[in-house]
Amino acid sequence: MDTTILLFLLQDGLTNGAIYALLGLALVLVFAVTRVIFVPQGEFVAYGALTLATFDAGRAPGTAWLGLAFGLAATASELSSERRRVGLRRLLQSLASTTAVPLLAAAAAFIVAPMRPPSWISVLLTLAIIVPMGPNLYRIAFRPLADGSVLTLFIASIGVHFAMTGLGLVFFGAEGVRARPLSDLVFSVGPIPVTGQTLFVYAATILAMTALALFFGRALLGKALIATAMNRLGARLVGVRTEMSGRLAFALAALIGALSGVLIAPMTTIYYDTGFLIGLKGFIAAIIGALASYPVTALAALAVGIIESLASFFASNFKEAIVFTLIIPVLLWLSLAHGPADAEEGH
């Protein structure tokens, strides 16, 4: 192997690693705030990619309908959990928070899609359709179980994963698709050709991480999320609603997922069930970060990306096996270093 191939592999690994890093961060965030191990994280990637590709084909994506359905279901779940009689005002208020954005996004999608909009409009519409699914899913599937154990939440999470994969098949079919690149730019750095799309991946990753760091470091709302993660009762006692934190965490996770999907859609062929494997690699990074450390997760994700890309060159048959085996020594080390894990965090 020569240097050129190595550089190729490294570039490829870093690009994928950047995506895994984003997904890993989302997993850590969701777990810290809600104790949900968010298996369907990858589905948001697939939904994002497939939705964008559908726009590219000049059609309005079925996920627009799905988003609406999620919104209505979330309102139904929200109102049915309330003990008081529900008035019209409360109904409208709930619909505004669950269904307004999906409704607007769906309407825009059906009007704009046949006009073959420029990429950036398709991307924005994709995000507008997918992101509200996050908080609505939280409301439907996880909020009613909020007091359950990590295991209960995990089982619900797996259920949501299967449901979303199945719905993905319904709305997008079994065909794999690739979206238009956001830019046709190609140039070379030394022997390595660099595409505009990889630059977008790096820029978006750095931007997203900076934005997250600022949000958690500076904004009161970000601190409220961390507070919920640190001490749920303490956060409630200062008036931070667990429900608000959960919705926000899921919205961020959906945003990160959809954004990742939009970024990789032009680089690899995405099927309705591709998301799971991608999300799982982010999950490995999150585990290496012990589902707690953001920086360790981000670095681990880059390592996962690079190892995967090297493995696909040297032992392509074992590519996934090698990547997923990584988790074993890490789990061993974590359990030896910290003793038997306490499944239920206590305050």
Partner: protein
């Protein structure tokens, strides 16, 4: 007399089938310090948690003229109630300053800045340590931070659960002095304490709880001289101290 700020009537709280609080009636007048004393396990902490909405309960809870027994915890905070729990429940991994900021989560930016100054004046120690992580504070400082965080919400009613627990006697005196000063600034206080003597000296009105029931109540100044109280809660042999 005006209607009390907080009115508890026939409150029951159960853990599974075991009732920890059985039919308690309590009232907190505006601007007063009310104390609930009693032995370990009498149900005092359970009572406070139920009033705040941390635990579900049966019975009447009226706050500022409104029935709030069905209101969730966070809405009770919005309404002006604040609990400093026995375990403080601070955000240990965050700076003192951030803990305070979050205390004012429901307030506007201006109110937060203003209240933070007041809290720093009341607790100069917190100002010195504003950048330190809450988890690194001493027991007394943690209690001060918990109280400071609660004050950031600008509560009408402040509920304190064993504020003296685990603190050195000198710091206990400081804490009680601050509680008195808070009352003078217009905050009503519901104080649960095992340190009955200090609590009775400070309070206007007192309730004694035993096995989940209120067994005695009265003016704190009279209770402190009551023979039964002295024998049970103040230690009969220390009678001379009271003079």
């Amino acid at each position: 007399m005006n209607a009390p700020l907080l009115e508890i009537s026939d409150l029951h709280v159960a853990y599974g089938k075991v009732e920890a609080v059985t039919g308690v009636d309590i009232a907190v007048a505006e601007g007063a310090i009310i104390t609930v004393i009693g032995a370990n396990g009498a149900g005092k902490t359970t009572l406070l948690n139920a009033i705040m909405g941390v635990l579900p309960s049966r019975g009447g809870i009226r706050f500022a003229g409104e029935a709030i027994d069905q209101t969730p915890l966070e809405s009770r905070v919005t309404g002006g109630m604040c609990l400093v729990p026995e375990r403080r429940e601070l955000f240990s991994g965050m700076a003192v300053e951030d803990n305070l900021l979050l205390g004012g989560f429901l307030r506007t930016r201006v109110e937060r800045a203003q209240t933070q100054e007041e809290v720093f004046t009341r607790f100069p120690r917190l100002k010195e340590r504003r950048r330190q992580l809450a988890g690194t504070l001493s027991g007394g400082e943690r209690q001060m931070l918990a109280m400071g965080r609660a004050l950031m919400a600008r509560p009408k009613l402040l509920m304190l659960d064993e504020p003296s627990l685990g603190l050195a006697p000198r710091i206990v005196a400081d804490v009680f002095e601050i509680v008195g000063a808070l009352r003078d600034s217009g905050v009503s206080i519901l104080l649960v304490e095992q340190n009955a003597r200090a609590a009775l000296r400070l309070a206007d009105h007192a309730y004694v709880m035993e096995l989940g029931c209120v067994v005695m109540q009265g003016k704190a100044s009279e209770m402190i001289a009551d023979k039964r109280i002295i024998e049970t809660y103040l230690g009969g042999t220390h009678n001379a101290d009271l003079a």
